[in-house]
Amino acid sequence: MNKVFFYFVLPGLIPAVFLTGGVESPLRLIYFPAILLLTRFFDPNSLLLSSLTFCALYAILPLIVGDEYPFYAVGENVPAFLVMALASGYLSGVIKGEEDSVRKTSDTYHGLTNALNLNITNLQSQIDSMMERYERLKELDVNKTHFLSSISHEIRSPLSSIRSFSEILLNYSDIDDDTRKEFLGIINEESERLTQLTNEILDVVRLDSGRTQWHMDNVDVGEVIQTGVKTILPLAKNKGLLMETNLPGNLTLVKGDRNRLLQVMLNLLSNAVKFTSRGGITAGAEEMPEEIRVFVRDTGEGIYPEEKEKVFEEFYRIGDELAGRAKGSGLGLSICKKIIEGHRGRIWVESQLGKGSTFYFTLYKKSIAAREDAMATRGVDLVGGQIMILEDDTAMRRILRENLEAMGYRTLGANSTRTAVELARLRHPDAIITGYLEGEEQFSEIRTLSSVLGIPVYMVSVINDEKSGPQVAVNGYISKPFDKDQIEKAIRAVLNRDSGRITIISNKPDEARDLQLFMGSKGYETSIVPDADSVGSTRPVHLIVVGSFPKDDLYAVLTTLRTSGSTVYIPIVLTLNILVRDMRCIGLGTTQYGGGLEKMVEMLREKG
């Protein structure tokens, strides 16, 4: 009901009746049209109320005005206004009913539209991921076809020699002994080449399929280099080349597959011998801050700058035939590259044409876990970088996407770990953000991926605040199984004090007691409650630790905590079933809840 009608129009009717002299006045004839006009501006309820007002006024007029007022006028006017009131009341009811049904339909429509939108978003992301998968498969297929036709070509050459020379030996009886020996030698050499080629093809296929068994152990790189040099030395001596090693005292052990690394060493060394006609070859290693760098230096012919990358490609060869060298398979360096990359190292070549080449590869000194930690502290300082959002909840993914895009990032969506892994391989995002809190096993896959490709994984727990938009809801994480240091680190990160009261929300007694035990031993005063609603009954606390709940329940707990006045600014630390030390987590410092997603981006940009 319009307020103007109540405050101005309705009170205005009363003096209007008196001033115009009541029913005797000819002006009364305009009352009906006036009231009808009102309905044009206001709703049927106004019509009902003004009619009732006139009814009442005309009913009490005789009492106020006394004898001068003719009673028959009351009898005429009151029923008229009453009929008006009834009609407008009916009309109002009908209209209200109509409106309700329209609203209901519109609500349903709205709900359907939303659901449809969600479905479309879902479908779109599914199509996207399917397209990505298809593109990748297509690429793989093209590569495979290319590889196969190359193989076929490579096999035909030695096969040609074997076939023609053996046929010659069979067909011609008048061949002298020397020539016969020469031909048999060629057949022998070419079958060896064929064998080597077959082995190397198998190696490539195995390394490519990712099903290689790595026998990782502590490896003394110095020993590998010396063994390699010892094996290749006779070859070098044959060509009159010098061969020496250049190794510092004691190299740090690295984690690696010794035999595979030796394979790389042998390959680089025999290549060096092959491409060097005078001078010598030096193999050695240098201790770098984070890695061991191995090198094989020769005084050979060197390679063109544009060949630097190509030499590591499959079947790329540097003019063997021209120089009258034994023909290699063209796979050696590509295998080396795959092996070194399997160790998460790098391999490259520096060269000066005519002066020689130096092949380098690096191996990390630290254990893989330690390196992942280092990786996790690297920030995404790229404005406009690409961020992958791994989140199975479509609505949440959309919220994250819209916000990140509004902040100038490009985004990629993934609704499952599998999609995420495939997408990340293909598109190399700068960071992965995930709000997905369940599923321990899938995480190992994405963690491996992130450590191989060097993509930091961030974890963020977001709740959607209707008033202020999406909010990062938690300040830190603890992963299960619990580890004393980790718990302390997580608490320390958000609570800058040695003592304090901590509330643990958990409906799992074991979990709650474990946490209580750890925290109690550090001097914190703890209390345990089963759900978020019970937090209010405890004394004010400095920190809330939320135990592991199923995802939906967890969001409900977080929402309750972040929307009730007594807990809105209290830092929250979550416990999770995944190893959060392997990823960087986004929290908001000690008491800064409510900063919204800008905070998240700040965290992304922050260098560890």
Binding site: R156, S161, S164, I186, E321
Partner: protein
């Protein structure tokens, strides 16, 4: 009667020239397209064997150059390659090659082909 073998693989050169010599033909070898074209122009061989993947000038280009040379119009060009795909064959024939053979090959069959090209009777 000269046969020219243009191939960068020494073993192919060796086997073909051995067989051709045995059968009483004169043989010359070249190890890349440029050398092949040069030798073809000076020797005017009756038959030329051409590999496709060679340094300096590949087989297709060499073939085109040979076929464009009016003095070499009587030379019969046989492409002998490990690239056995239909598309390579098509291109080879388009460049004017008279025949397209793939490796691995049988020297006996090659000799039989030469005889029939030269109009000799197979024994």
């Amino acid at each position: 009667m000269t046969i020219l073998v243009v191939d960068d693989e020494p073993f192919i050169q060796r086997s073909l020239s051995f067989v051709f010599k045995k059968e009483g033909y004169e043989v010359e070898v070249a190890r890349d397209g440029e050398e092949g074209l040069r030798k073809a122009r000076s020797l005017k061989p009756r038959i030329i064997f051409l590999d496709l993947m060679m340094p300096k000038m590949n087989g297709f280009n060499t073939c085109r150059a040979i076929k464009a040379d009016p003095e070499l119009k009587d030379s019969y060009v046989i492409i002998l390659t490990a690239k056995g795909q239909e598309i390579d064959k098509e291109q080879g024939l388009r460049e004017g090659a008279d025949e397209f053979l793939t490796k691995p090959f049988s020297p006996k069959e090659i000799v039989a082909r030469i005889r029939s090209i030269l109009g000799e009777r197979n024994e």
